[in-house]
């Protein structure tokens, strides 16, 4: 990459990295997997920077890259082989006590990947129903139904946990 283009890439990544990492963490609900998809997304972005930097909406392009990477593990045989060899080397997500400290993350983990992706794109990425549908390659109707099912599940999960939080807060107060 030309030094000038590389400076542009670094500047873009420097500004966006914290938010991309947060998005990845909401998608994966696992710190290691989140780092993985951020890393693979941004490495792919480096290699394809010349084309990507000309995109009409670079953020949307990168979000799309990341969400596809999150969802496509099942569809890309090569990646799946790689992952199958990597998974045993890692502790299971349940071993990361740090991730249980947020009820929302625990709730997101209970959702199917598709619903998680819809909620994260809609409410963290602030994408419209139509834009979310485009990123996911499905219909707006499908986004709406996934969104509604995901919200319903989350509501249920968070409500059952809420009293615990309230009791602890009351005790601390």
């Amino acid at each position: 990459m030309r030094p000038e283009a590389e400076r542009e890439y670094v500047e873009y990544v420097r500004v966006r990295l914290p938010r991309l990492h947060r998005m990845a963490y909401l998608l994966c609900a696992d710190r290691f997997q989140a780092d993985d998809i951020v890393q693979t997304t941004l490495t792919a972005l480096y290699v394809d920077w010349k084309r990507a930097s000309g995109a009409d909406n670079l953020d949307a392009y990168v979000h799309r890259l990341m969400v596809r990477r999150f969802l496509d593990e099942r569809r890309r045989p090569w990646s799946r082989v790689v992952l199958s060899d990597r998974v045993p080397e890692r502790p299971t997500p349940a071993d990361h006590g740090v991730e249980e400290r947020d009820a929302l993350v625990a709730g997101l983990r209970l959702l199917p990947k598709g619903q998680r992706a819809v909620l994260v794109l809609r409410f963290f990425g602030d994408l419209s129903v139509e834009a979310t549908a485009e990123v996911l390659g499905c219909s707006p109707g499908n986004v709406k139904s996934q969104c509604s099912r995901g919200l319903a599940t989350l509501r249920e999960v968070l409500q059952t946990r809420e009293p615990v939080t309230t009791a602890r807060e009351a005790k601390e107060a």
Binding site: Y25, Y46, R74, V81, F123, A133, L151
Partner: protein, 392 residues
């Protein structure tokens, strides 16, 4: 407070664990990946030193009913049974006027037909070469992507008119939409076609993003109605041979498990998986099947049952999952094209030397039975310089 706003607030407030990622490491990973692509040709030179000592199976004798090869190919010693292969000389493939960024996607077994795509924004624009003369195919949807072509010049691909997506056949100047069964389906990854014109692809119900409940669809030649092939749960198919054999594998909980071929009644043949290794088959031609085994590109021989790993495994801790890709195409002589990120051409595990000008690298996408290699040249920044062919 409404659910949506509360979710927004809570997502912003999530206490995300600190990231291990540093920008310096990202830069190194990106540079290394770009560098590895540039190194393909250098690695090919090293491989050739030993490759010339090995015998090469005849491509011409193995092609069976394929049309006669080009004269210059037929006269080249690399295509005879015992000669060395390469170096293969490069030719620029012309592109239709006004098109830029064209990437070659595939070549038919005879080498007469080549397909590729240009892009406009994030949408594909299809190109077909016949005897290396390019034409831009009509654009009938927001995005039209051609992915394979058979020896009769029948092209298949994917059209997107979001949210609509479908497999099409392009033949005699006209597109035909291939219908999926009732319901909403997402087809993946790309359709494959055999000499007769039979077409296969996988489909999963819309909204099931992990291949859950996926099925394998087959359109017999000329048909627009799919039949579902009776295969096990989580089986996926990636290619169909000229005798109608389906090539792919099974998955367990989303991970590649075992490479298989099936006949169209679903009768399986499990390919050799030594030592409990995992893998998947991606493509076949004649007696050869290619795919991946553990982390290496692999090749099976259907006649002998023998399996060969064609490269070193990728280190599990590779930051960018770079390295030799899986085998994605094989010709009648068993030459294997490896997929992204490293589009190279392997014969018995050694890269075949594809000549490129100084400062450029080859990125292989396909090889015909006649030894015509198609792909693109890239510069040292990995930018595409344009479609190319190499004659071996």
């Amino acid at each position: 407070m409404d659910d949506e706003q509360e979710l927004r607030n809570r997502m912003e407030a999530v206490d995300a664990p600190s990231s291990r990622i540093e920008i310096d490491a990202l830069l190194q990973a990106g540079r290394r990946r770009a560098f590895r692509r540039r190194s393909v040709r250098a690695a090919g030179g090293v491989g050739l030193a030993t490759a010339v000592l090995l015998a090469v199976p005849s491509i011409l004798n193995a092609t069976g009913a394929s049309p006669a090869p080009r004269e210059d190919v037929a006269g080249a010693s690399p295509t005879t049974s015992d000669g060395p292969v390469g170096p293969c000389q490069m030719t620029e493939l012309p592109v239709p006027p006004g098109m830029s960024g064209v990437e070659v996607e595939a070549v038919d077994p005879t080498g007469r037909y080549i397909v590729g795509n240009s892009t406009v924004g994030q949408n594909f624009r299809p190109v077909l070469w016949v005897d290396e003369k390019p034409s831009a195919l009509p654009v009938i949807a927001t995005s039209v992507q051609v992915t394979a072509v058979n020896a009769s010049g029948v092209v298949v691909g994917l059209a997107h008119d979001l949210p609509d997506e479908y497999v099409f056949r392009y033949e005699n100047g006209a597109y035909t939409r291939l219908r999926t069964p009732p319901g909403e389906w997402h087809v993946y990854p790309t359709p494959a076609i055999n000499a007769a014109g039979d077409i296969v692809i996988n489909a999963e119900p819309r909204g099931k993003a992990e291949g859950e409940d996926s099925i394998v669809l087959l359109w017999k030649a000329g048909s627009t109605t799919a039949t579902q092939v009776p295969l096990p749960t989580e089986a996926n198919v990636y290619d169909i041979t000229d005798d109608g054999t389906l090539v792919g594998g099974t998955y367990e909980k989303g991970y590649a498990a075992a490479a298989y071929t099936w006949d169209q009644s679903g009768k399986p043949r499990k390919l050799e998986m030594p030592g409990g290794e995992k893998g998947i088959a991606r493509a076949a031609r004649g007696e050869w099947v290619t795919g991946s085994l553990s982390l290496a590109p692999a090749r099976w021989n259907l006649r002998t049952g023998e399996v060969t790993k064609l490269g070193p495994p990728l280190p599990p801790d590779a930051l960018d999952k770079d390295g030799p890709g899986p085998g994605v195409q094989v010709n009648a002589s068993g030459w294997v094209v490896t997929g992204s990120p490293r589009g190279s051409l392997l014969r018995e595990g050694d890269p075949i030397d594809l000549v490129v000008p100084a400062g450029q690298a080859s990125d292989v996408k396909g090889v015909s039975d006649t030894g015509l290699v198609v792909g693109q040249a890239r510069d040292k920044n990995h930018s595409i310089l344009g479609p190319r062919t190499w004659r071996c």
